[in-house]
Symmetry: none
Subunit: 209 residues, 4 copies
DNA sequence: GTGTAACCGAGACGGTACGTCCTGTCTTAGG
DNA sequence: CCTAAGACAGGACGTACCGTCTCGGTTACAC
């Protein structure tokens, strides 16, 4: 497969990778420290040791910048672990409990809400947010092939294996079940409603009979 | 001896209801016009013909102000209609389809995302957002009694009647089913994923078997 | 005499005289320190402990600001002394020599050139610059009456007294003589041409026969 | 004393005359269009179709660049015509009137003030400005020999011929008279004071009897 | 011929300052 | 004592240029 022909550039200094990385690094750390609302381009530029114009040259808005940081796994890098004990219900409860525990913790408190605010600005962030929690994006792509083979299985992977194992009917709407659970997580994050053991059990029961 | 006799002493001007209403009105229209992010106190004050201090005297933040506007039903005033044909599945599909149609429309496009951004700031907005769509808040209160008697039934009402009618098992987690569906709506709003007929059917199928 | 009717102001905080003075003070000191070209609004605001908007609210440009500082005698406050020995020629030579000595000095070096640059921007500065050196503005006003009575006579005053004393013909163009001499000072400031004793003598000779 | 041997330059492209001319051309037209204050190196480079570095390689500052453009007669190219009718006074009045007319015109309005601002930055510009108007620099040099023979006589030339013709005394300070008149022009340009016929007459009268 | 060194256009870089907008506080005059 | 008006210190916005630093590409002299 031949690579795409290079853009017709006539001279000019090339983009500094060091600056790009420093900016994304700074964006991630400022985001974690202050949240999306109180994130400032000036603060990021200062933290990255970069001129403001270098940011505006490559990103059109705060939202685009955060989106790229999220896409590069600088925020929300890890998926949540889901076990595979053979009992789908208890596995989902473990996973959902872990997610709610993270939300209840000091770090997760604002982080998810900030990501939600960012997603309200920028579509890419919304898509990625969903993918990171559920383990599957809207449209399958090269990344999904890679993630399907990764050591750490996602909720969606677990649901698919449940179909194979006969725990769920063959035509069960796997992607939608994951979507509903992630949606519930987001809704509870927005309303600051924690999830105790009973709530988790009821949510899981609602989607897996 | 003070010159002012007690009886002529002014007790102080009372809060102007006209100003309060104008501010909430202006908040709602500015919110609809510009979204939560680009809402400004100065803009609201100017649109309401009011001094900034009058806003700061009674509300502590932009979030509080929007929350009160939402709570007074100036935004998101109507619940979404859900029919009762005796077939829960098709009734839920009708309702969910109507919600997604609203989101796809020009008005709903940004409105829900702005409300989500507002909810990320302010817990009350998140709770109210959930209640407005699903028809039930987290904790039952006086309002629920009123809404139960209102002419327009909510999704939660419909689910409860399904339990009574035997369409759902007696111990079905009604509130959580509504929560999951509302969460899915919010997640799709964030990721700009529309809901076609098949997607709606699958989401409903996932929660009502 | 009744005062002019007050502007129809309805409420609003009144302009802070402290801020106004601090700004003019800072303008003068920054001007002296850096010159007109390298004067910055941000620098003035910082030095005055004032927000930038407070400057932009009352002055439209750097030129206007410097103009007001000059008009308030914060720069170029003193006129140059001219003696009255009865010999006009030697008196003018004393005065002109003093002006050139000032220019040759460390302070005067850049100050006049900066004022010239400022005057190229702003008409008021040009007028005031002329008045400060020559002792007379273009159009006589209330200020001139005051200055005519001031203890320190200006070049123009000295020329007028020369007319009275018969040193100059009755119809001698007094204002124009002063103008020519001030113009020569400015021209030499621009071309960094100092004025030695002979040059001073020749300039004076050219205007007083 | 032998000068240091020239560096052994081996190879290397020679300076592009086309680029040099395009830069000076662009400098002149941008200067005329925007004035000295709003002249930018980037604007000149773009207008000349040249990289910024090509400018910085050969000129140290905006002032140097403008100075060279002025020295090459790209600005202020023509001297002002002075007739020789045998009547010095009326000849000077013609000349001075023409200069003031130029200043009053749309082109001259800002041009001289911009040159003055440039001169405040750069000594060469000040010297050249004086020479261009009066027809003589401070120190006689090779250029003066050339100008003395040029077809168009300068004010200084006219004054010198007046000495020869006996209109002025032998020891009249010719250079200083020109200097005073040029200075008055600059002063009036700075203070936006036009010169009507009477003012011109009085200025001339002040220096020639 | 062929290096090679200095030039060229282009344009990204770290910065500084611009002039605007908005924040939350304060100070007026007036009901 | 509330209200409309609006000035205040502060801070961030997004833009324009500064002067420097690469880039790939082009001469033109020295070998």
């Amino acid at each position: 497969m031949t690579p795409a022909p290079p853009e017709t550039r006539q001279g000019g200094r090339v983009r500094s990778e060091a600056a790009r990385l420093a900016i994304l690094e700074a964006t991630a750390s400022e985001f974690a420290a202050r949240g999306y609302e109180h994130l400032t381009i000036e603060g990021i530029a200062a933290a990255a040791g970069v001129g403001k114009q270098t940011i505006y040259r490559w990103w059109r808005s705060k939202g685009d910048l955060v989106a790229e940081a999220v896409l590069e796994d600088r925020l929300l890098g890890e998926r949540f672990h889901i076990p595979d004990t053979g009992d789908l219900r208890s596995d989902l409860e473990s996973w959902l409990g872990a997610v709610f525990d993270m939300l209840a913790g000091p770090q997760g408190e604002g982080l998810l809400r900030s990501l939600i605010a960012a997603a309200a600005d920028n579509a890419d962030i919304g898509l990625r947010l969903r993918e990171r929690i559920a383990g599957e994006g809207v449209a399958g792509g090269a990344d999904d092939a890679a993630s399907a083979e990764s050591a750490e299985p996602s909720v969606t992977d677990r649901l698919r294996s449940a179909v194979t194992a006969g725990e769920l009917p063959t035509r069960a709407p796997v992607a939608e079940i994951a979507e509903l659970l992630v949606g519930a997580v987001i809704l509870r994050a927005l309303s600051r409603t924690g999830g105790d053991r009973e709530a988790v059990a009821r949510l899981v029961a609602a989607v897996v009979d």
